[in-house]
């Protein structure tokens, strides 16, 4: 009972805490490496900000949908936990080795659309609402691209299970076998956590978008949820394209952590380097350029699986 129920839950909670902190520290490291001075020590500043948010008042708007507004950040965090639960650390060390774990990750992406929309809608405030609608319009194209790319990695594995996807990369990692896959998937990752160039739901042109009206503890949960979703995403990316726990000399979980850190660093670097896209241009880019590229990736993967 203990090892079946509590161990996986403890593992996911540990990953949420460590992962969220790692994102905050890495982002500050990237920022200071690029020349943006950071207030406070890089290691302590995230905790100071967290403690500060925890002691602040939670803002209230006029007649919001209280339940949805307060639940949305927690639900986004729960979705990140669901994503982390299916990421395998080695052939046996995985919180939930569901046979349809690839599809479960797809569901996490789809449900994230609902939660982000709800977060913007329930505040009963104009800019938050625009942010929510914006994410729905863009989120559909992220989901489609992600779906085709993930079907591509499921094909050589002949399975919808992440552990099998890793096992199928024993000879050659998917990042080389399907060269279009990882770049497309990284764009999906920036999109679904609305990070950096694809931060259109919570962007500064909307004064913070869906998060424009939240402060205090709900803001802390929302920020943590976005950071941990980025961690869950990099876990899935490392599993699907970088061979997961596979690697010489070092033990599997260590390899997995290194690969996740590498994906996280690339995402955070892209987030700091690239300018934000205009939403209309972003929709055109998604449907006219990236979606056809994901078709090509899928056909490439299919031909590769047949040969």
């Amino acid at each position: 009972m203990f090892s079946e129920l509590f161990l996986p839950v403890l593992m996911v909670i540990f990953m949420l805490v460590v992962g969220g902190y790692a994102v905050a520290v890495l982002d500050r490291l990237v920022a200071s490496a690029l020349g943006t001075p950071q207030a406070g020590g890089i290691w302590l500043a995230p905790m100071a900000r967290g403690a500060w948010l925890l002691t602040q008042h939670a803002n209230a708007t006029e007649a919001p949908d209280w339940r949805a507004w307060r639940l949305a950040p927690a639900l986004y965090l729960a979705l990140a936990a669901g994503g982390l639960a299916v990421v395998p650390w080695s052939a046996s060390l995985v919180a939930t080795d569901l046979v349809t774990s690839v599809v479960l990750w797809g569901s996490v992406e789809a449900l994230a659309t609902v939660v982000i929309f709800l977060h913007g809608w329930s505040a009963n405030s104009l800019l938050a609402l625009i942010g929510g609608y914006r994410y729905v319009a863009l989120g559909l194209s992220y989901i489609l691209i992600s779906m085709f790319v993930l079907i591509g990695v499921a094909l050589p594995a002949e399975s919808l299970q992440f552990t099998q996807v890793v096992a199928s990369q024993e000879g050659l990692w998917n990042v080389i076998r399907q060269p279009l896959g990882l770049p497309l998937f990284l764009i999906v990752g920036l999109g679904m956590t609305f990070w950096g160039p694809l931060n259109l739901a919570d962007s500064t042109d909307l004064a913070g978008g869906t998060a424009s009206e939240i402060s205090g503890p709900p803001r802390l949960v929302w920020d943590m949820a976005r950071a941990t979703m980025l961690v869950a995403f990099s876990g899935v990316a490392a599993t699907a394209f970088l061979g997961g726990w596979l690697g010489p000399w070092l033990p599997g979980p260590l390899w997995m952590s290194l690969k996740m850190l590498a994906v996280l660093s690339v995402l955070l670097l892209l987030g700091r380097l690239l300018p934000r896209l205009a939403p209309e241009r972003c929709v055109t880019l998604m449907w006219v350029v990236l979606l056809p590229l994901s078709f090509i990736d899928l056909v490439w993967a299919g031909i590769g699986a047949l040969l």
């Binding site: 007649a63 949908d65 046979v99 349809t100 992406e109 659309t113 709800l118 009963n124």
Partner: protein
């Protein structure tokens, strides 16, 4: 009776999920907003999806999550658009034709309840080595391939049609520039356009004056 091969935890989970599914399904009709109703329905479907996973239908259960997530989002937004209820936060009554609805509900409950109690269900335990995902794939791309592929093609055609119809770059130019109905005779005034006061039509070369 068959020997139970699942633990107490599965029974407890089933009862909790079934209660959640029924309660949120009931809330769909008692809430006062399109958006809330859609997402209550989503929670109800997710609870059913988890029950399907408990029943070893692992693919169908998980597929329920992402299908319903996208479906309910699209439904919520379309309802808000068509019902002219901005953002769906304005309270509105979610039920109408109550007497017919109550009658249909009671009749449906009685028929389904009677089926659940009186029907004899087949007793076919799932074989130990069954791979539900593989067998579902064989079913969909084996004997039933024609049905699924035709349904898929019809849905794809519909989706492309909807995108073409709703695209703002149409056959008559960009939607943002406004559309003008054609005149009844060549070069005539747009048909069906109400007469306007002078103040409203600055740039037109054609003015009507009524004194």
């Amino acid at each position: 009776m068959e020997s139970m091969n699942h633990g107490l935890g599965v029974d407890i989970a089933f009862l909790l999920l079934a209660t959640l599914a029924v309660v949120t399904g009931w809330r769909v009709f008692r809430t006062d907003s399109m958006v809330r109703a859609s997402f209550f329905l989503l929670v109800s479907f997710i609870a059913v999806g988890v029950i399907m996973i408990l029943l070893a239908a692992e693919y169908l259960g998980v597929a329920m999550f992402f299908m319903m997530a996208v479906e309910m989002t699209v439904m919520a937004l379309f309802m808000v658009m068509f019902m002219m209820n901005p953002a769906g936060l304005n309270p509105m009554n979610m039920v109408h034709q109550e007497r017919i609805a109550i009658g249909a509900g009671v009749a449906g409950f009685l028929v389904l309840g009677a089926m659940a109690l009186l029907a004899t269900f087949p007793d076919q335990p799932v074989p130990a080595g069954l791979d539900p995902v593989r067998s579902l794939g064989n079913e969909m791309l084996g004997d039933s391939m024609l049905i699924f592929e035709s349904a898929g093609l019809v849905l794809l055609t519909t989706m492309i049609g909807v995108v073409v119809l709703s695209s703002h770059r149409g056959r008559y130019g960009a939607a943002a520039e406004g559309s003008m109905p054609p005149g009844l005779e060549p070069g005539g005034d747009p048909a069906g356009k109400p007469e306007e006061d002078e103040a409203g039509e600055g740039g037109h070369h054609h003015h009507h004056h009524h004194h």
